[in-house]
Symmetry: C2
């Protein structure tokens, strides 16, 4: 590890996203999702199940007031387990208690984080006022000792930190910290950051390697990376040490979760079985295979990469690389989706990537982007950015309807609606996006990811600006106290033309431009007297940049046919179509019923067609193929002796995977049989 | 329906199975399974979980004695629900109570039925004495009013017949009746038949269309067909009427099971959802699609066919035909397996026939044979016999190891052992057969089916002997008071030569010989002056048969390549290999790892090879094919642009499906990709 080379995301203030494609997405977040989610948090969406999130904060705040008013006469609530999700018997008859999932607080934090990124790029007084009101609710709910989790505050703080495995307190803290740092960076306001630091101190007083402190760690990871972020924002090493403690303690034997849950320790069951789900089955440095709940995994690995970078911890970094390779070489869908099984929403075993029962949660691909960006910070290799791009343009975007109003948790690669309705093994696979969920992790996670997309597109070190994703934007790069402006114009993902205009100040710095896996036959125009170097998939252009300079790139946008490693049983004999970073799929609405009857010709090129889907213009693809015809004889029986297949030549119509299910319920298929 | 043409199975006494192939199987039943199961019923198998079956009868008997001894002072046990399966806390510390599944009684009945068939063909004094001892236990357990179910006798008869949906009392009765008729026919002994008739009268007094009687019907069907059998054995129409009542009442609205289980009636849930599992979602005559638990379905449809025949009920027969077609044209595996999903051990939706998660229970294929034989009795069409044969030679036989010592419940068409161990969706799929099950339905069901195989191979009407399956045997056919002997010699399933020697008496009768679907290019030799006719897949040879006549048949045993209806998504682009009635499969032990990498050549014939598997000689098949080679580049990554597939020519080795998993745990695949 060479920390001189570390790079970091730029403050969003120094980035203006001007990209045609992404501006649409960001506008959806700003104009649709953020206002919608605020309503959802306040239980104001008529058709959706209430969140109770804001309500819980208010109830906790009122309890605090009562406590102050009554002093010693106040009787603290004493904890009895109300259930993982608590709903009122009659929604009209709400009591002064906690409702919703135990992790409901995190939804507000995710919303504030998204708001922060939005405000940083689009100041909006009214939105800021709303956010400040929400922050005040959080302030009011916080306890005198810094503790802050409405579930335990309302149900009985005497049991705080006693069920780390299942109860998400430290998870909620992590989201609080992410929100607080983002909000502080966006607005300069310290209020939420202070709340967070007080809670962090409270946690640091409870947990740690010092004798007498609790040796637990989060059941659902995120605090690990959030604490590093809090450390980087404040410089307070307590937080970095606490993150490091959580990471190092995780999965050590005897298992902390066994101590916490003696009832669940069964004879003959290894910790491997009990805690793989939580990535707590062995010390993290020994973990070579990505296992368990995929979102938890992605968050942990991201935190490990952060800690490895800040602590220059080579063994931890080595573990990150191993886990990265495990995911990317054995457990990732071609769409950048992860989590092959809905049982535990988890990584399945190596090469087990079923298309129709996939879990591939939107949040899991977001977590993979987190992990990728962090690996890029340590070591800019384009293979990390390739995966980040793949996840972003496919599974992450698929998580949201084109109108920003409905969402997928699960992003399968093949859907046969009848099976989703009639086969209980596929009930997790929805055929159309849904409005809002009781467990609403994906929509707000999408909001915070998309509204901070600049953090993933570009990073910088002192003398280098990295362009990881070809997203159009205007970036300010400070070099030797002077500010150069880099204006990227990109026609991606539909075309391969990228123009980079530099308003330099005569200072020497480097533009590090990623060469995508799919575009390594690129053409470079301009950059005349720059020193050129290519390293690990990045093109480094170094010179003293003057005024009005321009570099142009042309990436070939050819239609590519991809195959999976033959060990992937589900895709043997099948092909997937990509163009640039976009994975394509066939939908019934374009190709008729029974997509499995369609085959791709072995040769025959495709052609691109610009078209509108649900009002959005995009590039679709037509390929030569054929449809197997079902003869009358075949239709009448189940089995028959083989005969010459009857087939008709057809044009197979492909649309971007992320745009599927925007035209009603229908069949969808990414992998197509080859003839 | 033309009842002059109805045909019936012959008494096993008039059949001697001499077939080389089937004698082996019957010997296994007689020498291995029946003694083994007796030990299992008596909890004497060291490694297997105890059955408690015999023990329950003894406990119930002791209760009866106590009742007689104490008279009015006896306190009847009062029912409280002990659970669907009750196990002792410590097996050493057994109490005077009921243990095992609520349907545990049926295991003894199934054993007695198998014993009866065995005794009928192979008298065995010692075995008969053991059976009589067992029957005495049953006699002792029966209540004065005829009631007989140890679960309720021990736990509290006050709740008898109050949970028909879940508690299998009428199911146990059905197996009792099957056993009693079989035992009576085999030995002439009336004891068990009397017990059964007393219980049947008790049931008939409780249930029926008369006012005041209970309008319930069995949650798990079998009583329907068993009552018809009891009627046919005794001539008592009460039993036929009771069967008819159960059939007619089933699925009528308001649902009886709703009344019984008001707690499970949920708003907005149609009876369709609640009772499809039990085939009680609509009146049986309206059922056009086979749904729900496959064994239950097969038993119900068999009972419907029996009742339709005895009552000359055309609408009921029409429903049987519809349901038959639903199964055979849309829901049956090529192995004659039924039940596409383990969820509810049930039929899945049309054309949903997954190979690796199939349930395809051994018992379900047995039930399909029951149904087929009954359809043949009404109308001898070879399509019924084709399916009966398919189920028998493939899924039914697969249920048992070649040494008769271990059993499959689930008979998948594709197994990748790692998936069965690591994918919770496949935990029902075992990779090797198991010794004995707590819920031991399949092994004793296999025993009773195989030991009465003559009931399926041949049936007769007054003037016709039907040969449905080419199983070698010597059959006595009575015509006009004289007895002709028909001696069938068959080289099936490995060769296609069948010789039928007739020792006639000069009387005119018809030999009705099935022409199998796979052998319609047969050759007939002999039968000189017989009147010949071919109808619905049967060849009818009518003449006055004299002494020492012979008819020979030659069926071509070519290797056949089969395809499924293209609407079966799981088998698109794949081929299955059959020869005669035998479905073949590839195993890892013969073909190496990763069977999915193997393809069959589009042309190129196969060759048969005689070989031994686990000590048994059978015909295996070699076919030309190739193996996809995984290049180093492919191995290093998950996805790559397509290139020319690297492949090597290999001989694919196929063994009979029923013989798979007799050489340790390994991959198996029925359907092979075509090149």
């Amino acid at each position: 590890m060479d920390n001189n080379k570390y790079n970091s995301p730029l403050p969003l203030k120094r980035i203006e996203i001007t990209d045609h494609f992404w501006k649409q997405e960001l506008n959806l977040v700003r104009k649709e999702i953020i206002p919608y989610q605020w309503k959802a948090l306040n239980d104001q969406i008529p058709d959706a199940s209430p969140s109770y999130c804001i309500r819980n904060f208010k109830v906790a705040g009122r309890l605090n007031e009562e406590r102050k008013r009554l002093g010693d006469a106040f009787v603290e609530p004493s904890y009895t387990y109300p259930g993982f999700e608590v709903l009122p018997e009659d929604p009209k008859d709400l009591k002064e208690q906690f409702y919703g999932f135990v992790f409901q607080d995190s939804d507000l934090y995710k919303w504030i984080e998204a708001v922060a990124y939005s405000l940083e790029q689009h100041p909006d007084q009214e939105l800021q006022k709303t956010a400040e009101g929400a922050i005040d609710l959080i302030v009011n709910a916080q306890q005198e000792d810094g503790y802050l989790n409405t579930y335990y505050i309302i149900n009985g703080k005497n049991k705080a930190f006693t069920n780390l495995r299942d109860h998400h307190e430290l998870y909620c803290f992590g989201h609080l910290a992410e929100a607080a740092v983002a909000y502080h960076q966006a607005t300069g306001d310290h209020k939420l950051l202070k709340v967070t630091e007080r809670f962090a101190e409270c946690i640091a007083a409870w947990f740690g390697k010092e004798e007498g402190k609790c040796k637990g760690y989060p059941g659902h990871e995120i605090a690990e990376m959030a604490l590093v972020r809090l450390y980087e924002a404040t410089g307070n090493e307590t937080y970095l040490n606490l993150s490091s403690f959580f990471i190092d303690e995780r999965g050590t034997s005897p298992y902390y979760f066994d101590k916490e849950h003696p009832e669940s320790v069964k004879k003959g069951q290894e910790g491997k079985i009990r805690y793989e789900y939580h990535q707590a089955h062995m010390p993290v440095r020994k973990q070579k295979e990505a296992v368990g709940h995929a979102v938890r995994g992605g968050y942990l690995y991201s935190g490990m990469a952060d800690a490895a970078r800040c602590l220059k911890d080579q063994t931890l970094y080595d573990a990150c690389k191993q886990l990265w390779n495990s995911i990317v070489n054995k457990k990732m869908y071609i769409t950048g989706g992860i989590g092959g099984t809905h049982i535990g929403e988890a990584f399945s075993f190596n090469y087990d990537l079923p298309n129709d029962t996939a879990y591939t949660e939107t949040c899991a691909s977001i977590s993979l982007m987190f992990f990728a960006r962090r690996m890029l910070q340590i070591n800019p290799e384009s293979r990390y950015a390739d995966v980040m791009e793949l996840a972003l343009y496919n599974t992450v975007l698929s998580g949201m309807a084109l109108d920003g109003k409905s969402f997928f948790y699960v992003n399968p690669l093949e859907v046969f609606p009848e099976a989703c309705h009639k086969d209980e093994r596929k009930t997790h696979v929805k055929t159309v996006r849904q409005k809002w969920f009781g467990c609403a992790c994906c929509p707000p996670n999408l909001a915070r990811l998309l509204s901070s997309i600049g953090h993933y597109a570009y990073t910088e070190s002192e003398d280098t600006l990295f362009i990881h994703l070809y997203i159009g934007g205007i970036i300010e790069k400070n070099v030797n106290g002077k500010t150069a402006q880099i204006n990227i114009h990109s026609t991606l993902p539909w075309n391969g033309e990228v123009g980079i205009k530099i308003q330099g100040t005569g200072e020497v710095f480097t533009l590090a431009i990623r060469i995508p896996m799919w575009g390594n036959e690129y053409e470079l125009i301009g950059a005349g007297n720059a020193k050129r170097a290519e390293r690990k998939g990045y093109l480094y252009l170094t010179k003293s940049w003057e005024k009005d300079e321009e570099v142009k790139l042309h990436f070939p946008m050819k239609i590519r046919r991809l195959e999976a490693n033959p060990l992937v049983r589900e895709t043997i004999g099948k092909i997937a179509i990509m163009r640039g970073p976009i994975v394509y799929c066939m939908e019934e609405v374009d190709n008729g019923k029974n997509l499995h009857l369609l085959c791709l010709n072995n040769n025959g090129t495709g052609e691109t067609v610009e078209r509108k889907i649900a009002g959005t213009t995009m590039t679709s693809i037509q390929m030569d193929g054929f449809r197997q015809i079902i003869s009358q004889e075949e239709e009448a029986t189940l089995y028959h002796e083989t005969w010459e297949e009857q087939k008709e030549a057809v044009k197979l119509s492909f649309v971007p995977y992320y745009a599927w299910a925007n035209r009603g319920e229908n069949e969808m298929q990414v992998w197509v049989r080859k003839a």
